[in-house]
Symmetry: C2
Subunit: 430 residues, 2 copies
């Protein structure tokens, strides 16, 4: 007898998944065991790109997660509620769950995994990070023999698309955003992408897997790309960098405690770095561990087909479990950690900075800046007067590694200097 | 009670693996269940970088694979024999096997997997391709819901190191090779790397997994990098390409049969292609499938630590199986295919070509070349007289997609032209 799926949602991802499952030839033979038993949607009157018999399509999503015949619930409806409640009900009813919902997992992961552990079932979430890219499963399995030191990702396709176009065309953020919205690469409300919130959800999930602990989403520092200007992209280019929105989870090796830094912000990435050449809507996740060194996973971070691949591979894993009616030890390689990771405040981060200053064109202003930085042990790699903007001289500074707290103190002092007009940009350097 | 390993070999990979297993803190907790029970070597008198008690180290490898106490045999000794016989004995004795030995798997895979299937045990080989990069497991699991169209890899670190240095320094092959040998990046006998044989072993293994069939190693076309000149690297650069040794397995969509092309050769790769920026000793494997699109796996293709990570993750998977004493359905997702893939002869390959000609400086020589190509339906993208070498004019040609057989016929006709001195290079274009 087949394994019965109850799919919640038939939008981009749901449709892609149904298409893949309905067209099994040339794919893994176990997919043939799957029956698309119920699909829950909001409206029965929409045109659907897939054919489903009338008893399959329903608007009663509660009935799906409560139906004893359903073996696996596939949550591809998105949003926080009712997705959270439906997932929890499915788990409590002893059903395995596959989800693509990073927002729900990043916020309710603790609750959801606790429920899954209690019910002895699995929550699979390959599609929640990096779209089609297999990264969750490798983190749980192949890479788990390593001590993970850092996970650094370009995990939001919209912002990477915008930054790539700003870079190649020399355009402004707002112009590219408007165009991206017209082309369908950015949503009408781009907040979650542009402010880095979507990337924050994803790095919270990756950090939890890589560092074996729960992550409190409020602890994730998050800065979007609105303030990235074409001026800074051009200066970065000259200095040998490209600007990327990076999501970073890193073990603080400098401190004695075993704290992490988990953060999302635009970052100057050296051109030779593997993440520097990830362009357009593509995503990539770089994992650094001991003894493996650096490995990177690259691919389409979104889209119906790619995401359907990830959702279906999770389903396939569960079908294999259900067909043999055993607890799958490989899935168990996922950690049922209960502890929260300790996340250090940003002031304790040690990083390099790039900053751009507008100053009154006075003699000795570079010297004054240097003195302020020196007062707080901020060591500079370069300080260059790059030109003028009207009456004001423009100065670009790149620091060596520095404690963020110290750097901020120096900036506060600099801001109070009479010679300083403003500090239009401040970016971290990888 | 612990899971007992019998490790065959304590060289680079064996030592790295023992070090990882002996230092388990901060890694997957299941690693604690492992006991390094026996390690087989050639000499008991060598200095070893790891401490093992005297009853563990032995020169009697037969005894290890025949010892009923051994649960998993880890073959990291390399070579064809006695590795093949020892693996087969271990399997016949009901032991799972982990191996890093691409040479043995590429040649004896059919025999080895048949023995494993008969005994109901697993052969794990993550380390055989791409060193530490998780690529075997993703191909067997996450990506198996896709129809794979192509697998394209930079899977040999030595040749990629040499080509990268030739590119950045403008140096000759032989100079860089000599230097690479001194620095330990190339072996004293570099044949297997430089002639593409190691890459051929690896693409045979990847093709077998991606296309669900056995691969006859003799069917894999193989061309090394000895004939790649700094002149061609420079021309390629001008045309927007870098030259990489690619290992390619591809479904021939043009033909009616479902044949594959499986091949290793130096290739002009467009600079914007994801594989173009893989430099030095790094490896990368690009998988193209439907519906996922392109995904790429990047990382260290060799080295003690990286390879130990892959070997240990295979061991971990098997420990999970042994601890629950169930057949692991996820490992079963590997295909026990028995059929051989049909591999098309190279004459049927459809590809672009780059060729460089030395011709007598006669009027109309470009026209004559063009006519010959036209006679065999070879359509040209560009044909440029690039300069002179002594008395001879140098002409560089790039074709559109063409059947290799047609191109070769055109070349044969061209070679017989009075105006043609020689054809110093002929390379395929991705
Ligand atoms: N799109 C991507 O490329 C992508 C990539 C990775 C992850 N994801 C994640 O995958 C999930 C789904 O994304 P999507 O792009 O497929 O979304 P979508 O196109 O908006 O589709 C949502 C589907 O869920 C149904 N739905 C939503 N709320 C419902 C409710 N309260 N009751 C009944 N049905 C409801 C909708 O029904 P109607 O059709 O009747 O409106 C629709 O079929 C999200 O969590 C997203 O973050 C998406
Ligand atoms: N090195 C890498 O980075 C790498 C990466 C991926 C895969 N691999 C694969 O991993 C395997 C091992 O490579 P390696 O670099 O670790 O090799 P290695 O350094 O040459 O070590 C070989 C080990 O096997 C032992 N050995 C070899 N033949 C033996 C025999 N007939 N009887 C007893 N012991 C024997 C040697 O014993 P003694 O120590 O006593 O001489 C030595 O400990 C090969 O298949 C290789 O292709 C290597």
């Amino acid at each position: 007898m087949g394994v019965k799926l109850g799919i919640l949602g038939l939008g981009t991802v749901g449709t892609g998944t149904v298409q893949l499952l309905q067209d099994g030839a040339g794919r893994h033979p176990l997919l043939q065991e799957i029956e698309i038993y119920r699909v829950g949607v909001r409206s029965l009157h929409k045109h659907r790109a897939v054919e489903l018999s009338t008893e399959v399509l329903t608007t009663d999503l509660e009935a799906i997660v409560n139906d004893p015949a359903v073996d696996i619930v596939v949550e591809v409806m998105g949003g926080l509620e009712p997705a959270r409640s439906l997932i929890l009900k499915a788990l409590n009813n002893g059903k395995h769950v596959v989800t693509a919902n990073k927002a729900a997992i990043a916020r309710f992961g603790a609750e959801i995994f606790t429920a899954a552990n209690q019910a002895g079932v699995y929550v699979m979430l390959e599609a929640a990070v990096g779209g089609g890219i297999p990264v969750i499963q490798p983190l749980k399995q192949s890479l788990s023999v390593n001590r993970i030191n850092a996970i650094t990702g370009i995990v939001n396709g919209t912002t990477n698309y915008i930054l790539t176009r700003m870079q190649t065309e020399g355009s402004n953020f707002s112009d590219v955003l408007a165009d991206a919205q017209q082309l369908g690469y950015a949503e009408a409300d781009p907040t979650a992408d542009v402010e880095g919130l979507d990337a924050a959800d994803k790095i919270a999930i990756l950090a939890s897997l890589g560092f074996d602990g729960r992550i409190n989403l409020q602890d994730v520092y998050c800065e979007g790309i609105r303030q990235v200007s074409k001026t800074d992209i051009a200066y970065a280019e000259k200095l040998g960098f490209v600007i990327k929105l990076l999501a970073i989870a890193k073990r603080n090796i400098s401190s004695f405690s075993s704290s992490l830094s988990v953060r999302v912000h635009p970052t100057l990435v050296p051109k030779a770095h593997p993440l520097a050449s990830i362009n357009g809507v593509y995503n990539a996740i770089l994992v650094e561990g001991e003894p493996i060194g650096q490995v990177m996973f690259f691919g389409p971070g979104a889209g119906a087909g790619a995401t359907a691949s990830a959702v279906s591979s999770d389903i396939l894993n569960l079908v294999a479990v259900l067909k043999t009616k055993t607890v799958d030890p490989n899935l168990l390689l996922a950690c049922g950690h209960q502890e929260y990771c300790q996340i250090a405040p940003m002031a304790e981060l040690v990083t390099r900075f790039y900053a751009r200053f507008l100053t009154k064109d006075q003699p000795g202003v570079i010297g004054k800046l240097g003195t302020c930085f020196g007062n707080y042990n901020v060591s500079l790699e370069s300080i260059v007067q790059t030109g003028f903007q009207g009456e004001l001289a423009e100065i670009v500074v790149v620091t060596h590694d520095v404690r963020e707290g110290n750097f901020r103190q120096a900036l506060a002092e600099i801001q109070s200097l009479e010679a300083i007009d403003s500090i239009p940009s401040l970016l971290r350097v990888l």
